[in-house]
């Protein structure tokens, strides 16, 4: 599996290359992925153990067609029912899963579909995550937008009519520190009605500060809940510390954020186990923080700059659809976001079954919205490289029209900062 990930950039020094190879080939050269680094806050929580004890005992192959039928028969979908819906046995019931999922989606969300766009403000990163375009050994054009540049990007996006923004950075505390992100949030409040963050995990007091700056939603992808596999994929940097990342959403809620979002990057490990863990992460945190809004994403691996061989091998569209239907049936009240990693055809289909939110007008690069939105070439202006290749590049107006044509009600905002 690792062969699809390791790529040596010709720009690396011999010393850097040597260190990179040592990290890749010699596990003893890597720091413990379970030990907290200095400054990382520990919280008192049993959620991780609640989730992982279920995942450890999950054997997808032991569920039968009868289990799937029982899970679909109606009534409350419990954890065992959900496991059956994720199992290979449920693949033969995909249409029935979709029907039940559509019913739940319509009951809880009607025919609405929420639209948002991500804004990458920096792509510096101090981690070596082997599948990610931003990883510190990948040779890409690095960039961090100034406040003037961020404001310019926001103006361009806001002019398209977008009202919800998700601010993203690479995971570099030194290049994109908390106050830099906080200032970006304050700017976002001027141009957008809702601001979310997808940044490196931080401590409770830092989330509290970011909330005061205007952010109300925090997204953290665990990438994989398979701890051993996580260790092999995140070789360097603070992101390597798996348990600190796991508790990020809970710290955000403790800090007063209204909502949190979760996901595994499907394709890194057994996607059924990762889907179970993602949903249970939501399930157990919701029991502890019943007021919080929760949502799930479902990214699959995509090709990156410098490595076009990266693909999510064992999770095809049918399996992704199964996972999303199972999420919807098990957690009817949560938001489900489908990113532009997926094709327009898949997104158009899945919003009618299970998804409630999709991105539009997406750029995963840095500082290139004017070029993308206005078709204007910025002669000589530097832009930063993208995190991954997108598969659906529809603009907001295009997406809005397409959703309305599909009989859905596109919604740009349903939120107030209080």
């Amino acid at each position: 599996m690792e062969n699809q990930f390791f790529v040596d950039s010709e720009y690396l020094s011999p010393e850097a290359l040597e260190k990179k190879h040592r990290l890749e080939n010699d596990p003893s050269s890597r720091k413990s992925h379970m030990e907290y680094l200095p400054g990382m806050e520990r919280i008192d929580s049993t959620v991780c153990e609640d989730v992982m004890s279920q995942v450890r005992n999950f054997d997808p192959s032991c569920y039968t067609a009868a289990d799937v039928r029982r899970a679909l028969a109606g009534g409350t979908c419990g954890i065992e029912d959900f496991k059956a819906l994720l199992s290979p046995a449920a693949e033969n019931f995909l249409e029935q899963l979709a029907e039940r999922a559509r019913l739940e989606t319509s009951r809880h969300f009607g025919n609405t579909v929420y639209l948002f766009t991500p804004l990458y403000i920096a792509n510096y990163c101090e981690n070596y995550c082997v599948y990610c375009g931003f990883n510190c050994y990948n040779h890409i054009q690095r960039m961090k937008l100034s406040m003037e540049q961020i404001e310019h990007e926001m103006k361009v996006i806001a002019a398209s009519g977008m009202e919800e923004i998700l601010i993203l950075t690479g995971e570099s505390r030194s290049k994109s520190d908390i106050s830099y992100i906080g200032e970006a949030c304050k700017l976002a409040r001027r141009y957008f009605r809702m601001t979310g963050l997808e940044i490196y995990p931080v401590n409770t007091d830092e989330y509290r500060y970011l909330h005061a700056c205007g952010a109300d939603y925090v997204t953290v992808f665990q990438e994989t809940y398979d701890v051993d596999q996580y260790e092999k994929l995140h070789l360097l940097g603070h992101k390597r510390v798996w348990p600190y990342r796991f508790d990020a959403q809970e710290r955000a809620l403790m800090a007063g954020m209204r909502g949190v979002a979760f996901s595994a990057l499907l394709g890194l490990s057994d996607f059924r186990k990762d889907a179970l863990a993602s949903a249970l992460h939501v399930y157990f945190l919701q029991r502890k923080y019943p007021h919080a809004e929760m949502s799930l994403s479902c990214p699959r691996l995509r090709p990156i700059v410098g490595n076009d061989r990266i693909h999510s091998l064992d999770i095809q569209e049918r399996q992704l659809c199964q996972v999303l239907c199972a999420y919807r049936i098990f957690l009817p009240f949560v938001g489900i976001t489908v990113s532009s990693r997926e094709s327009a055809r898949f997104r158009d289909g899945i919003v009618k079954i299970a998804a409630t939110k999709i991105s539009a007008g997406v750029s995963t690069g840095i500082g290139d919205h004017e070029r993308k939105y206005g078709g204007k070439e910025q002669g000589g202006t530097q832009v930063g490289d993208e995190q991954f290749e997108i598969a659906d590049n529809r603009s907001l107006s295009h997406m809005y029209r397409d959703m309305a044509d599909e009989g859905l009600q596109p919604v740009l905002n349903d939120y107030l900062y209080v």
Binding site: G161, E163, P290, L412, N413, D414, V418
Partner: protein
């Protein structure tokens, strides 16, 4: 029947159907007004917080009363802030208080709702609180200055009908304000039943929004509510609990 009007906070309405806010679309609002006769339409303030071309505010006909709600509020303080914002936005003086500390079932928090009702009633709002049907809480809401009480029939959006029937009946019997059944009503027959019980009005949304033929369902709701109201006013006939009526009365042996 002609003078049978619904009075909320001194305002008079002829229709006893109120459109809820869960799922909205232009066609839903049209059908609710035209086919179900709605005169009050709920509007989530957070949903109206948009610059979208298709703002829900533009869909509301002139002769309809707006009922902004505080959905998204997790405590009394947030509900009060949202209500004040609604007034600033020009949504009038009505407000439906919705306070939820639970995103799974969206069950209202009665205690916080009472607190918000007291503050907003003092500020001159016509306060219509969404509540879990608890008699003590309902009495507190009356004392706090509510203009009606709005107990839930079942979890919102569930279309499960009058799951809390016994408790709603207690509110109808004991509370002097209009009792408006809100949330959970899935079918016209359930709306009719609530009206027969003496509910003052019905609020529904999902039941219409998810119907295959929206205008037809809206009209069915309008008629069911009217039928239930007539039955209530007519005074429903006796219903025997078991067996038949003895033709020879048990007390027939008494001589004087």
């Amino acid at each position: 029947m002609k003078n049978d009007t619904l009075i909320i906070g001194g305002h008079e309405f002829h229709s006893r159907f109120i459109l809820g806010s869960g799922k909205y679309s232009l066609s839903l609002i049209e059908a609710a007004v035209r086919d179900a006769g709605a005169e009050i339409i709920t509007l989530a303030v957070r949903r109206a917080n948009t610059g979208e071309q298709e703002n829900i505010l533009d869909f509301i006909p002139e002769n309809v009363t707006l009922l902004p709600n505080t959905s998204g509020a997790r405590n009394a303080g947030e509900a009060v802030r949202i209500a004040r914002l609604a007034r600033e936005l020009g949504c009038g003086s009505f407000v439906k208080i919705e306070i939820m500390r639970d995103t799974k079932y969206l069950l209202p928090d009665n205690e916080e709702t009472i607190r918000a009702t007291e503050i907003l009633a003092k500020e001159g709002f016509v306060v219509m609180p969404y509540m879990y049907p608890d008699l003590n809480a309902a009495r507190d809401l009356v004392n706090a200055g509510a203009a009606s009480v709005m107990p839930l029939a079942a979890p919102i959006g569930s279309n499960r009908g009058l799951a809390t029937k016994e408790f709603i009946q207690i509110l109808i019997d004991e509370i002097d304000l209009p009792v408006i059944v809100d949330a959970g009503i899935g079918k016209p027959s359930q709306a009719c039943e609530a009206m027969e019980m003496g509910a003052a009005a019905i609020m529904a949304n999902t039941a219409l929004a998810t119907a295959e033929n929206l205008p037809l369902m809206a009209s069915a709701f309008g008629q069911a509510i009217e039928a239930g109201r007539k039955a209530y006013l007519a005074g429903t006939g006796r219903v025997l609990t078991r067996g038949a009526s003895a033709s020879d009365p048990l007390t027939g042996f008494l001589r004087d």
